[in-house]
């Protein structure tokens, strides 16, 4: 087997050194009752070309976005990946390194994390960011539990603007910690009243911008109301490209900002792995979950970086840790950081402008259609539309025409019949005007 360097001669010599007759003798501690008796009914070793053949055939069963115009989003976005980005993250020194516990020989990873933390803090308008969580949904759950720790309160309010996966994962986490959560109904029209619900029992209010249905909201007044009640405001950002163009959550007064960096870091990859972004105010750093890289000096006084404040973490604090997270999303955080570095301020703004322009162009063309109503008046690169008929069969009909034409909201909210006709559409820099015309013309036919 090509991944195993020991030759039979090596094995024989080594068994001799160890003083046993066979490899099986090394497994003598295993009870006979648990030893695998019969051979497993699974395939044997394959050459590289055989594996490629098998997996390529499986991949070919999927309709991928390079074969069909795609307008899908809902927290997972298709953006262009610069060639140098994939080259850099495939360098073995990044790809095949472990967590940087030995700082003298991990300065590359540590400096990259420090740069990542700074970039994430800058674009969210926050003071500090950690080295990453698994994804946006788990980062949101961590924000809720951190808010409970900080405020010593046990109730969380979730807006109907929040991505249903973020909401569900947060609800799961809080339920098992015996905390309370109130989730408001999905809010496609953007009319819910949050300020009126803020009270002295709340640990935090969780909102999202751009919202799940595409609305853009300024949460400055909500932040003030939360702070007056001693609660924190958590703002989720599922599409961080929006931060190139929009008022930052930090500027609105958020105490914790979480999100998913997938859209900037990686292709859509069927939804994972992403990278959870987690930021907060400096005064809360000792309550933060996750790893942190910090600046220091070595014995010669030279600047360097280490993992720091690890007394918050499970390997030191065990059951009193701020989280159980160990493995995070390191390589995807690096990809996020490399892409942000490639873009720079000018490129990041231009990318955001381009996304919004394509979405606005799509909206302009859709507004000319009968049976389509765009719900948000302000949006970034994604918006909900109300159709004249149920959205799920419309999407199926579009798929038959080789178009990935949005996501029926009913797939997230099957128990809300009033959402049955709502379709979620996204346009990024990847959707050309020709793509947009294909979708609009097909939609016109399907709806007629």
């Amino acid at each position: 087997m090509r991944y195993l360097p020991l030759s039979d001669q090596n094995r024989a010599e080594m068994l001799g050194s160890v003083g046993v007759a066979s490899v099986d003798d090394l497994f003598a501690d295993i009870p006979a009752a648990a030893k695998a008796k019969a051979k497993f009914d699974l395939s044997n070793t394959m050459s590289e070309m055989e594996v490629e053949r098998v997996l390529s055939a499986v991949a070919a069963k999927n309709l991928n976005a390079s074969q069909a115009p795609s307008f899908l989003g809902a927290g997972n976005y298709r953006h262009h990946t610069p060639a140098s980005l994939d080259y850099i993250i495939q360098r073995g020194e990044f790809l095949t390194a472990y967590t940087p516990y030995q700082p003298e020989i991990s300065q590359g990873t540590l400096q990259a994390i420090y740069e990542f933390q700074t970039q994430v803090a800058l674009i969210t308008g926050m003071e500090v960011a950690n080295a990453s969580m698994y994804d946006g949904a788990t980062a949101c759950a961590e924000a809720a539990t951190m808010a409970c720790r900080v405020t010593k309160r046990a109730k969380v309010l979730v807006s109907g603007s929040v991505h249903p996966h973020y909401r569900d994962v947060t609800a799961t986490a809080l339920r098992f910690m015996d905390m309370n959560i109130e989730c408001l109904a999905p809010d496609p029209v953007g009319i819910e009243d949050l300020i009126g619900r803020v009270g002295p029992d709340l640990a935090c209010v969780i909102v999202q911008t751009p919202g799940f249905f595409g609305h853009l909201n300024d949460y400055t007044a909500l932040a003030e109301a939360c702070h007056a009640a001693g609660a924190l405001l958590v703002i989720c950002v599922a599409e961080p490209v929006s931060l190139g163009l929009l008022k930052s959550p930090g500027a609105m007064g958020a105490d914790i900002v979480v999100g998913d960096g997938q859209s900037i870091a990686t292709p859509t990859c069927f939804g994972g792995p992403g990278v959870g972004l987690f930021t907060t105010r400096e005064k809360f750093i000792r309550q933060m979950p996750g790893r942190l890289a910090g600046e220091t000096v070595d014995e010669n006084g030279r600047r360097g970086w280490v993992l720091t404040l690890s007394t918050r973490e499970q390997h030191i604090r065990r059951e009193k840790a701020t989280s159980n997270i160990c493995t995070n999303s390191g390589l995807i955080a690096l990809a996020f950081s490399v892409h942000m570095t490639l873009l720079g301020e000018a490129g990041f703004r231009r990318l955001a402008e381009l996304n919004h322009a394509h979405a606005a162009l799509l909206a302009d063309k859709l507004e000319a259609l009968k049976g389509v109503k765009i719900l948000p008046t302000a949006f970034f690169n994604e918006f909900a539309v109300q159709l004249s008929k149920p959205a799920a069969p419309v999407v199926e009909a579009l798929a038959k025409r080789n178009i990935l034409g949005g996501i029926p909201v009913s797939r997230f909210y099957p128990t809300y019949p009033e959402l049955e006709n709502i379709l979620l559409l996204t346009a990024t820099e990847m959707n050309t005007e020709a793509d947009i015309d294909i979708l609009v013309n097909a939609l016109k036919e399907v709806l007629s």
């Binding site: 497994f27 991928n64 298709r78 990873t109 003071e127 939804g271 390589l331």
Partner: protein
């Protein structure tokens, strides 16, 4: 003492590299984009034109920046990485190539299910391998990493207890040798934690465990092979005692790589076990992640599996996405966005297919052989913490360093200058000054012999006496000498700021 040998501060291939923020050339970008179509913008009053503060660099500058950073890292591609409990094995590039097929990389988790049949098939095929290799009837695929898989298992356990009228059970027992994620996970699941002592043979003290079992115990979490690198020989008896007390048996599968193809986990009496795809099935660690932690479940727990999960029907595959109805009637809910770590699944299946069941069995055998070879050869100077054969990793204590003034940490730092990544240090906690080494099956005998020669020489040097100062000065040849971790924690500087701003904020954070 700053380097004064060169005017640049660089030392040949070791090149000092500033932060990207210090390289800012103002307004540059490495990404050229087409012009935006002229349209009416619809941003309401949320548009912001305030500067963000991101640096601008050209493509050659960015590529050089990260290439230079990469050269300051140790990695499995460049050398031996015997970190115990971390399983740093070779990461085949075939896996990366497969994960980048457009049919896997360029698909969306919410495209119509009829257009994603290959994705569901891939998840189902990987699930089939994991279930067959463990003999377990069900697997939850969505956990994102090992600790997340532990959480999945305990959430299934708590939900099962509540469904059976046993919700009052509030205690989880964890051996004192356990990885920190075990107690941290139990706490996140609403449980109190009590620890079980180890015997002098490095195993769970089954009598001490029995004494703690009661109607208050929800689960016992045991790592097997344990963090001392030893198989829990009384595992089946432990499972029987746990079940007799009405509790569930969680086996931490971080070390499953020692058992693949040789032990059927189901026959050990396990109710739940996570599998670290990034360890056992060789998906890259990436400097900290991502991983994936699918959790196999017994028949008693299978109904509580989190959503989403893939099911096979007459018309192909579909995915169950909502708890509380149909096949997910008893599901505890959702714990991860979308479909789990799909990109990691592709890499793991690529590795599994390449190895095959025969190759996987050979791999666990070679991993255990390599660890035992280290154990025997290093015992010439080092002191093994436990007698007898070990599994995939071996632990030494620091008694060989007694009265030398040299610590486990010092030996580890000296190994850096020898060109090796240090072993895991001071873990497990039950071994004094532990040095935990896991060679994995992808290291050659020649590499092991080199490592053994270096480590034995260092041990002999320490034992000579009067060498403490030399050891404390290690490493000398790495890109950095030892770093001041106390200062880093006392005055945390967690991000770059323009010089004048940084001083004020650092002061504030320190107060």
């Amino acid at each position: 003492m700053i380097n004064t040998i060169t005017t640049s501060g660089h030392r040949a291939l070791q090149i000092e590299q500033p932060l990207i923020f210090e390289l800012d050339t103002g307004g540059s970008t490495a990404v050229d984009l087409p012009a935006a179509p002229k349209v009416r913008t619809r941003l309401g009053d949320l548009r912001s034109d305030k500067p963000i503060g991101l640096p601008g660099l050209s493509e050659p500058e960015v590529v050089r920046h990260y290439t230079r950073l990469s050269q300051k890292n140790y990695s499995i591609d460049t050398g031996f990485y015997p970190l115990g409990s971390c399983t740093m094995k070779h990461n085949p590039r075939l896996n990366e190539k497969m994960a980048r097929l457009p049919g896997f990389a360029d698909i969306h988790p919410y495209q119509p299910q009829s257009t994603a049949q290959g994705a569901y098939e891939l998840i189902d095929t990987l699930a089939h391998w994991l279930k067959t290799l463990t003999g377990m009837p069900a697997v939850a695929m969505s956990p994102a990493a090992g600790a997340h898989g532990e959480l999945c298992g305990l959430m299934c356990i708590r939900t099962a207890h509540e469904a059976n009228g046993q919700g009052a059970r509030k205690l989880v027992l964890v051996p004192e040798s356990a990885h920190g994620t075990n107690p941290a996970t139990a706490a996140l699941c609403g449980y109190r934690v009590e620890s079980i002592p180890a015997t002098a043979l490095g195993r769970v003290d089954i009598n001490a465990m029995r004494a703690k079992l009661s109607s208050d115990v929800a689960a016992v979490m045991i790592t097997n092979p344990n963090t001392c690198g030893l198989f829990e020989t009384e595992c089946i008896e432990i499972a029987q005692a746990v079940h007799a007390a009405g509790a569930y048996f969680y086996m931490d599968g971080a070390n499953f790589n020692a058992l693949v193809g040789r032990v059927r986990i189901a026959d050990l009496g396990v109710d739940a076990m996570h599998i670290n795809l990034h360890k056992t099935f060789s998906t890259p660690h990436g400097g900290g992640g991502p991983g994936a932690g699918p959790t196999v479940l017994s028949a008693a727990l299978a109904a509580f599996v989190p959503v989403p999960f893939v099911v096979r029907g007459a018309n192909g595959f579909s995915v169950v996405e909502h708890a509380g109805t149909g096949a997910a009637q008893k599901s505890f809910g959702r714990m991860k966005g979308f479909q789990g770590q799909f990109g990691v699944f592709v890499r793991a299946l690529s590795y599994i297919l390449a190895m095959g069941v025969d190759g996987l069995r050979q791999a666990s055998g070679d991993a255990v052989l390599n660890a035992n070879y280290l154990r025997v050869k290093l015992s010439a100077e080092l002191t093994p913490a436990f007698d007898g054969i070990c599994m995939h990793e071996v632990v030494f204590d620091d008694s060989f360093l007694k009265n030398t003034g040299v610590s486990t940490l010092d030996v580890a730092k000296a190994l850096i200058d020898e060109g090796f990544h240090p072993m895991t240090m001071y873990f497990p906690l039950v071994v004094h000054g532990a040095l935990l080494m896991e060679p994995t099956e992808t290291e050659s005998k020649a590499t092991l012999d080199q490592f053994i020669a270096s480590l034995l020489a260092l041990a002999r040097k320490a034992k000579q006496g009067d060498q403490a100062e030399w050891f404390k000065g290690s490493p000398r040849l790495a890109p950095r000498r030892r770093l001041d971790e106390i200062q880093a924690a006392r005055k945390p500087v967690l991000r770059w700021r323009k010089a004048d701003v940084n001083v004020a904020v650092t002061k504030q954070a320190a107060e």
